[in-house]
Amino acid sequence: MPDEGPALRMEDVVAGYYSNDLVLDGVSIDAKPERVTAVLGPNGSGKSTALRILAGFLRPRSGRVLLRDRDITETPAHRRLSLGLGFLPQGRSAFPSLTVEENLLVGAWHVRSDRRRVRALLDAAFDRYQTLWPLRGRRAGTLSGGQQRLLEIARLLVTEPQVLLIDEPSAGLSPALADVAYGEIERLRSEGRTILLVDQNVRAAIDLADDVYVLAYGRNESSGPREEYADLDRLVREWLRAR
């Protein structure tokens, strides 16, 4: 890859949910363009909090978030999408009372005044995920876990993001469906999107990643290219020592 600056950067971020706690203590993460960056770490290391900061759901006490060198630290969550930053949260995020088609329509909120564009985005989504087409009139809450995850990914693509934040893509899925989810992430990378992935499934994340960051106790523990993290046993031993 050419030596480009990061598409998304978290710089020395200090953050917590309450005034007397500290979840992130000076964490820095770079997600390089057109690469998958995996953020790993034991439970409570601050991975998901880092993602919430990047998505705009939590303001850091100090530090900055930069999207293609633009400071978005104070930009609210709903405005980050229009800057090209999409977010696939952990767990179920499909709107259960809306149909599959309505879920995708809500994904096209940013182009809502342009009906033809909305239709084109939906057609592209149904074309790409053809299994969703027969389900388009069904409420998302009645779909299986795998179908809902596919819908969430399809809806994320309707939002047309260039940089994707993905939190625990395989959470709650069977191994076969998790493979489908990881296959989709691989496909998104091959299409030139930048992906920042937080995952408990260490092996799958490292297999997929180009770059890896490890957090522990809310701090940067280590980082480097995937090859440096080939020895999973050593990584887990380090985590245990960190505890």
Binding site: P76, F95, E102
Partner: protein, 292 residues
């Protein structure tokens, strides 16, 4: 009961039921989408009735023309209440917003009492109060118009929620506020809009109520209880279910009025509420999880 009196009871009940639906719609919307129990709902509703009285009896304006002014004004009032009072406490415990709205209820009621006193008010309807006869059924024009307002409010809210992008975004926000924000939806602005619509619906019901009944400023508590009754029987945030519950209560009340002494009517209505709660379980909190 003869066939004629049965049809008359059914017509009266339908008219009453549509009015009850209008009374409950706004409460159901704000509770279902925003999770906000608008304690001031009925106080604002009666304020709208009093303003209608002012327009009709003092300024000589037709009630349906008064509606065209009152509903947009109350929409703005609702949007301001959300923006100024509720938004700053959105992340506080729910009881904070509840207390704020209870305070607003007291303020609106006190203001209404100061301006309009406790005197009961009735609209001077003139020609608008003429009876309309359809076969064996007779309904006054003012009550028929009030029912039509209820029906229009119900259909308009349903179409808004089901057929428009903003309506879908509203339903999405009701499902998950964070996931809606991820889709680029400004949930703060949308909340302001939804609360404004809720209060505008209260104002619509207020005009319809003024066209149908005698009312006074302190009477709003009765209507708040009625609105909650319908919301719980029907289902929170669900427009069709609110309509069915409103019609059910209206028709049962109408038939009970024909068949039973007056003092038993409320007993029958609250028996329906008890059955609804036992059948569904969970009361208001279960209702809160129902679909729009």
């Amino acid at each position: 009961m003869t066939i004629d009196s049965t049809l008359q009871a059914l017509a009266n009940g339908t008219v009453l039921g549509l009015l009850y639906t209008a009374v409950a719609l706004g409460l159901s919307l704000t509770l279902g989408v925003l999770g906000v129990v608008n304690m001031a709902h009925s106080a604002l509703l009666i304020a709208s009735s009093l303003l209608t009285w002012q327009f009709v009896n003092v300024a000589g304006v037709h009630p349906l023309l008064a509606l065209l002014v009152i509903v947009p004004v109350f929409f703005v009032v609702g949007a301001l209440i959300e923006h100024v009072l509720l938004r700053p406490v959105r992340r506080q415990p729910e009881s904070t917003g509840l207390l704020l709205l209870f305070g607003l209820l007291i303020m609106v009621e006190s203001l209404a009492l100061a301006v309009f006193t406790t005197d009961p008010r009735t609209l001077r309807l003139g020609e608008f109060g003429q009876p309309v006869t359809l076969g064996p059924v007779t309904v006054t024009l003012n009550r028929l118009s009030a029912a039509a307002l209820g029906a229009i409010g119900t259909v308009a809210l349903y179409l808004f929620l089901q057929r428009t992008m903003v309506g879908r975004a509203t339903r999405a926000m009701a499902d998950s506020r964070d996931a809606a924000a991820v889709m680029g939806i400004d949930t703060g602005r949308l909340s302001t809009l939804v609360f404004g619509i809720g209060v505008a619906l209260a104002a619509l019901a207020g005009v319809a109520l003024a066209m149908s009944f005698t009312f006074s400023p302190q009477e709003h508590v009765r209507w708040l209880a009625w609105a909650f009754l319908i919301v719980v029987i029907g289902g929170l945030g669900s427009v069709p279910a609110t309509l069915v519950a409103g019609l059910l209560v209206g028709i049962v009340e109408s038939f009970a009025g024909f068949l039973l002494p007056f003092q038993y009517i409320h007993l029958v209505i609250y028996a329906i509420l008890a059955i609804a709660l036992v059948a569904r379980g969970g009361g208001l909190m279960a209702a809160a999880s129902r679909r729009l």
